[in-house]
Structures are given as C-alpha cells and as structure tokens.
C-alpha cells in the first residue's frame, strides 16, 4: 500500500510573519521550514512502513507551493519519505482553502494512496481544515486532530479529543487523517539522510499536469477574498520581568499579587 503525506513549507517560527499589503497574501520570502505538525505526520507514516501492522510499499510526500516549498519536501524525505511530488505553478498563487483543497486532491488522485496523513494545522495559516476538504474531494472517510492510530484489519482505530472527551473512531481505508503533535515524537534526521534527501528527485507538476484548469485554482478559483486588514483593539502591554536573581523575581511577583489583592 501507499501512504501520501501532505506537507507544507511555512515561515520559520523565528521569522516575523507579515502580510504583503499589495496582494493581502502572506509574505513567503525569508527562512522557511517544514510545518512542525507535518513532521509528526511523516513520522507516523514512516513508523507504519517500518512496523508490521501495515504492508507499506512507499511513503510519498506531497506539497503545493512556490519553488521554495521544495525545502519541506527535502525535509520530509530526510525524515524517511521515499519520494516527493511538488505541485508548483504560478497559477496556484493566492489559492484559498477551497482552491488549495481542490488542487491537492487532484495530485493525490493521481497517486491513488491507501492512506493520506497530514499535520492537523499549519504554523502559518492555522486552518485545521485541509484534511477534511481533501477527503471530501477524494470521497474518503476522514478524521482530524488524531493523537493515536491502531491498525485493525482494513480499519484504522483512531482516537482524538473532541468537545465532550476522547472519541474513538474506526475508519475504513482508504482514508484521510490529520494528526496532532501528541501522536509521536519525530526523529531527528541523520546528516546522511539530510544530504541524501537533496539528491533524490522531486516530481514537479504544473496544475495542467494533474488536470486542473487555471480557473479552478489561485485567485480565480478562490471563493473568499480579504477585503481589509485591521489592527486588533489595543491591549495594554504587560509588565515583563527577566529572571536574573530569583529571590528578587519572586519578591516582585508577590508584590504584584499583593497589590491586586490576589493573596
């Protein structure tokens, strides 16, 4: 069987993220990395391949994004994916959730995976939704924010927290599952794996290669439009203490609490 892992290249956590006011899109220049939640999805896929519960022939990392998004694919391969597919086309720029889901589903359709894994949210967009969008296009059952997966025959028994406690749900494969960071502890890739990943070929596809019309993706295919960006209501900045002398720090905290009659 084949597992596809959807990955995303996101601005590095240390980079100050900004919106380009001319396009209202996220400025993607500057340092970027594999979305941290996606490393857990790659790890889950690689563990299935290494383990005996599923007969996994290959793990394929899939992304959509500008040229630089290859970094995320390389990292996914360094973490154990066998190969990668990059949907890359100027026509895709500015795609919203609706258009992105449609485009990714087309790439996955061509791969025809038995299982699609992805991180539950991206560090930059925090949408939580792509997995469920893609599943609907692929006509597969899906579950998001999953923190445990057990194989039971052709079913995957998944657990996750929902509104009333922990839910356990059995999905019949093929299925789409987004995972939370509690599902596993991703490995650190070896230097050899990192160097090796750079040499592995990336299958780069344009939207026409997967049967997407330019009108379905990018700004043209998007169903939402950002009409304005506003500042949130100003909040008084809090006081910050750098702990240099802990006794002094504790004194300051106690005084602060005392002044507010909290002790």
């Amino acid at each position: 069987m084949k597992i596809c892992v959807l990955v995303k290249d996101v601005p590095d956590a240390a980079v100050q993220k900004r919106i380009d006011p001319s396009t209202m899109w996220l400025d993607r220049s500057g340092e970027s990395t594999l979305n941290p939640f996606d490393t857990h999805a790659v790890e889950a896929a690689v563990r299935f391949k290494e383990g005996d519960d599923l007969e996994v022939d290959e793990v394929v990392a899939v992304t959509m994004g500008p040229e630089g998004a290859q970094r995320a694919l390389q990292k996914a391969v360094a973490l154990g994916a066998d190969r990668s597919v990059h949907l890359c086309d100027d026509a895709l720029a500015g795609s919203d959730v609706c258009a992105t889901g449609k485009a990714l589903a087309k790439v996955l359709e061509a791969e025809s995976p038995d299982l699609v894994l992805l991180g539950q949210q991206s560090d930059d967009g925090e949408c939580y939704t792509i997995g469920a969008v893609v599943a609907e296009h692929l006509k597969m059952p899906s579950l998001t924010q999953v923190v445990g997966i057990e194989v039971e025959g052709d079913k995957l028994k998944c657990e996750r927290q929902a509104e009333y406690g922990y839910d356990t749900v059995a999905l019949t494969m093929p299925a789409v599952i987004s995972v939370g960071d509690a599902i596993n502890e991703p490995r650190y890739p070896s230097l050899k794996a990192i160097m090796g990943a750079k040499k592995k070929p990336v299958d780069t596809k344009a939207s026409s290669d997967v049967g997407l019309d330019a009108s379905e993706v990018g700004e043209a295919g998007s169903k939402t439009t950002v009409t304005a960006l506003n500042e949130p209501p100003a909040k008084e900045a809090g006081e910050i203490i750098e702990d240099e002398d802990t006794a002094e720090t504790v004194d300051k905290i106690v005084t602060w609490l005392d002044e507010r009659k909290l002790i």
């Binding site: 900004r18 599943a135 609907e136 597969m140 509104e163 406690g165 299925a175 910050i240 802990t246 504790v250």
Partner: protein, 324 residues
C-alpha cells in the same frame, strides 16, 4: 435569500453545546440585518421539545435528521449540503469546536464554497456577511468576504454570546441518503473521560501547566503552588493532557474548558491560540516561560522570563510563608 443555517452540536442526549447556542443567537441577529431567517440543523437523538426549544435563541426552523449519528462530520455534511441546496441558504455558521471545523471543511469541498475559520465576529456590509478573522498570532484581523454562495463561517471558541430571545422553532424532519464514504467512519466510543474528575471551574486561582514543565512530575510543583493560594487549582494544556500528564477534566481550550478565574498563572505554557481562547478572559494573567518569544507574553499582565524549575518552588515557599 440570505438565510443562515447553523449546526447545533449536542452531547448525544440533546443537551446543546454553548458555542452552538451562541452561533444560533449570532445567526438570528445577522439574519435580521440581512432581512432573512436563521435555521438550525440537528442530528441524532433530539426530541421535539429539545428541537423546538432552539427557537429561544432566535432560529425559526430546525431541520432534524434523526437517523444520522451525532459526533462524526461527514454524515452531517450530507445533511447540511442537502438542506442548503434544497432550501437555498446563503451561509452556514458553526460555533467554536472541532466538529464544526470538519463539517465546514467538508461543505467547502462539496458545495465549492468559500470558508473562513477561527472567526471572532461577523458583520453585514452591502447586504452580505463579512467574517472577521484574526491572523498571524492575532496580530491582525482580516475582513473576509465571500465570492458566490454559500459562504461558510467557522467561529472561534467563545466568539458568539448566547442570547435568549424567547420563541419556539418549527421542526422539520429531513431524510438524507448518506454518501458512501460518509458511512466508512464508525464511532466506537464518544466522550470518554480520562483521568481524575477534577473541578477547575470553581477555583479563584488557576495554575495552568504546559509542556514546558517537562514531565508529568512537573505537575506536582504546580499543585503545591496552587495549594499556596486560597482556593487554587491546577489546569492544563491540551498537549500535556494528550501526553497523559494530567486529567482531561483540567484541560483548557478548544476541546476543554473555558475559565475566567481571578488569576491564571501559566507555567511552561506557550500560549497557542487554542489555549488562549479558553483562558483569555481571566481577570489577571501571569506567565512564567523561558522563551521570551512565547505568544503567552503577548496577552499576560505580568510576564516572567526564566526557568520555572527555579522560580516555582521559591514562589510557593514565599506564598506559604506569608500565609503562615
């Protein structure tokens, strides 16, 4: 035209979720401004009385699919897609919560519709709805409009206040044939409670522990600190509950509790949005974290950058000494 359809989540016995009731109230206000009506969708075991009572939150009609199970998204996508298409709704609205994200996302694909998530407020402009969505760690708010119909709006936890308006709703039973793939997920167990049944909602002071504590043992220090206050208790982030460090009943956030104590003292908590939404209305917030860039410092009244393992025991000691 302009009608708003709201999904009303319940616990399996027809007790509706507060966030869903908030969404119903908001939808009814917005529909009033648009000159249209708001309706609700419910699935599973909901009695006539329970369904009619949703009218108290301003909806005029409740679509009920009795045979569709509550708790899984895709069958509910089938129901909502049918109601939206048959009766021409212009928007679908969801209160905060995980299932709303999944159903909204499914509808996006099914109906080729625009979706906005983590919405904190919805307004009317030129006869259409505009969703306000905080982005980039809440540093900016995007106004998002929709191209075509329907528009799908997924609220953030606690975004919409519950308002009782009086009135009852007409209940319409709907028969829906489920999509083949919607039947391929099966709920084995719903709403399992894990760990001790602790009460954090009655506490005046909450010590909230996060991954920065390093291990389950870190919570012992949190409990000692909470004990040093009057009426203190310990709360936890989702990450540490999922890791099994602390009981689910103490969890704050999207899939946990919403609290507003007199003081929330966050130790080793980064301040992810899903935690923030569950505690940001606390009267005072103190954060202790070694990472000066942790988002929690953006909304703390007092931020302490330092090693919690050094600060917490000394703080506990100092508070205990004061108490005598």
């Amino acid at each position: 035209m302009g009608g708003i359809l709201v999904y009303a989540l319940h616990d399996g016995e027809g007790n509706f979720n507060k966030n869903s009731l908030g969404a119903l109230s908001a939808a009814s206000d917005l529909a009033g401004e648009l000159g249209s009506e708001a309706a609700a969708v419910v699935v599973g075991d909901v009695s006539d009385e329970q369904a009619q009572a949703l009218g108290n939150y301003g909806v005029t009609k409740v679509y009920r699919a009795k045979d569709v199970p509550e708790g899984l998204a895709q069958p509910i996508v089938d129901v909502m897609a049918k109601v939206i298409q048959d009766d021409g709704f212009s928007y679908a609205l969801f209160g905060g919560g995980l299932l709303g994200f999944e159903i909204g996302a499914g509808l996006t694909a099914r109906l080729d519709a625009g979706v906005t998530m983590e919405v904190t407020s919805v307004k009317v402009a030129d006869g259409k709805l505009i969703a306000e969505r905080p982005i980039l760690q809440d540093s900016q708010i995007a106004d998002v409009g929709y191209v075509g119909e329907p528009g799908i709006i997924i609220g953030r936890l606690n975004a919409f206040d519950v308002e009782e308006k009086g009135g009852t709703a007409e209940v319409v039973d709907v028969d829906v044939e489920l999509s083949e793939w919607s039947t391929k997920a099966e709920m084995i167990q719903r709403g399992e409670q894990r760990g001790a049944d602790v009460d954090i909602e009655a506490a005046d002071i909450l010590v909230g522990g996060g991954r920065g504590l390093g291990s389950a043992e870190g919570f012992e220090a949190c409990e000692q600190l909470a004990d040093a206050f009057d009426n203190g208790a310990v709360a936890a982030t989702r990450a540490v509950v999922d890791a099994g460090w602390y009981p689910y009943a103490a969890q704050i956030g999207q899939t946990g509790k919403t609290v507003a104590p007199k003081l929330y003292l966050a130790v080793g908590v980064s301040g992810a949005i899903q935690h923030k939404v569950g505690m940001q209305n606390s009267e005072a917030i103190i954060a202790i974290n070694k990472d000066p860039n942790a988002p929690i410092f953006e909304f703390s009244d007092l931020g302490v950058v330092g090693d919690l393992n050094k600060i917490m025991p000394k703080l506990t000691e100092a508070l205990k000494a004061r108490k005598g």
